[in-house]
Symmetry: C2
DNA sequence: AAGTGTTTGAAACGAATGTTTGAATCGTAC
DNA sequence: GTACGATTCAAACATTCGTTTCAAACACTT
């Protein structure tokens, strides 16, 4: 199934794919090793435990993305200095590295993108690992956004950043496997076109004026 | 733990809570029945299988929310007739019934809101059940949004609706358990204040002009 | 060719899972 | 009070899980 030469990489590729298809807890080591053409004991030989395998599956993908995000943000801030980069470019630097992951050379990342959609559900350890990797990125980008929107209260910017992450996550999941459910009239569009729609939505949301509730809105 | 009088409701309440805490697949029937003060066999007596229990846990909460959404949308369209309701009110009718669920009388819904965050990960059957319940709501609201934004291409509106669902889901998850990870300076705010921030973001995103990519944007 | 450290192989272990069974208990109508 | 359906109970069932074990096969240096 996987074309990797050594057993360890084949196990990582296969585990990533099966985790995305079936779920992490629901995927047994026997299924992984069978699909990868390896022996059951190979996982414990190469990784020590299932838990470590899971962590390595995630770390392998998440690290490069966040590094690329921070690299682009550095570049933007250097180019704009002493001014702040524009909101548009900040958001681009945050969004593009994730959603264009499948363009990088090292294998097909789409299984992992589906897997990311599952991440909020499974074991606490995975969440902690992901958030620890994400924390620096989140801090840096939130600060940049707050500088780009100086009129917006900081607490408001903080929440809008969360909403942005949510919309982005939904895009990942959506493009990976949910085409058919929320109206399938959308043909398989290339990711570039989807990113442009997402960018418009995010910029509009980030720059939106504060909200005033409708006067006659119905309460539950 | 649960104050329900009969065993069946106690099992539903306890299962919901444990599913949200630990995950669906990871929660064993023995844990549920022990926590609920019931016998292990009670689940198979009342529900027939774990799968059916899961479905009933979801159906019990999802149905009323979507019904309330559609009721509010009906009300809006009737009041605005022959014109279309405003975008603002449509989004309010979509958002408020979910995020104000815990105000309804029948028990504490917060465990279920955390559970919703897990739903993209677990068994295919749950997804199908949820999407079948959600399909009518999604169709109706998407149509209303497209009428309220006649200048926006339909494909664009369809994607923005997905982004909206994503941002809303992130809010549910975020408020339920992720306060500490994405910057914990936000004190436990009441849901009403969060909804107002979300509404501003969503309306801004929905009404945003089409996007033009930055000329010098960095490619990966 | 022998020896050594690395990797793979088949088999078993103990624990946990969903499910089934059949008897005991409860509530209620006659 | 007795009979009967609904519910609960303790115990066992067959599977599956992650993990361990130890010998066989391999790669590579001397």
């Amino acid at each position: 199934m996987s074309d990797a030469t050594n057993t360890k990489d084949r196990l990582l590729d296969t585990a990533e794919q099966l985790f995305a298809q079936t779920g992490i807890e629901a995927t047994s080591l026997r299924t992984i090793t069978a699909e990868a053409g390896a022996n059951l004991a190979a996982i414990h030989y190469h990784f020590g435990s299932k838990e470590t395998l899971i962590q390595e599956v995630f770390a392998r993908r998440v690290e490069p993305v966040n590094q690329e995000r921070l690299r682009q943000l550095d570049e933007l801030e250097a180019a704009a200095y002493p001014n702040a980069p524009s909101l548009k470019k900040i958001i681009e630097a945050f969004i593009y590295p994730v959603l264009l992951m499948n363009k990088v050379s090292d294998g097909d990342c789409r299984p992992f993108m589906r897997l990311l959609g599952r991440v909020y559900s499974e074991s606490e350890n995975i969440q902690k690992l992901l958030f620890s990797q994400f924390k620096e990125t989140a801090t840096r980008f939130l600060a940049a956004i707050q500088k780009a929107l100086p009129h917006l209260p900081k607490i408001e910017a903080s929440w809008r950043f969360k909403f942005m992450v949510g919309a982005m996550a939904m895009t990942v999941v959506s493009h990976a496997g949910f085409e058919e459910q929320l109206g399938s009239e959308n043909e398989m569009q290339d990711m570039e076109a989807i990113i442009e729609k997402l960018m418009a939505f995010l910029i509009g949301g980030m720059q939106a004026p504060l909200y005033q509730k409708s006067e006659g809105s119905t309460k539950l």
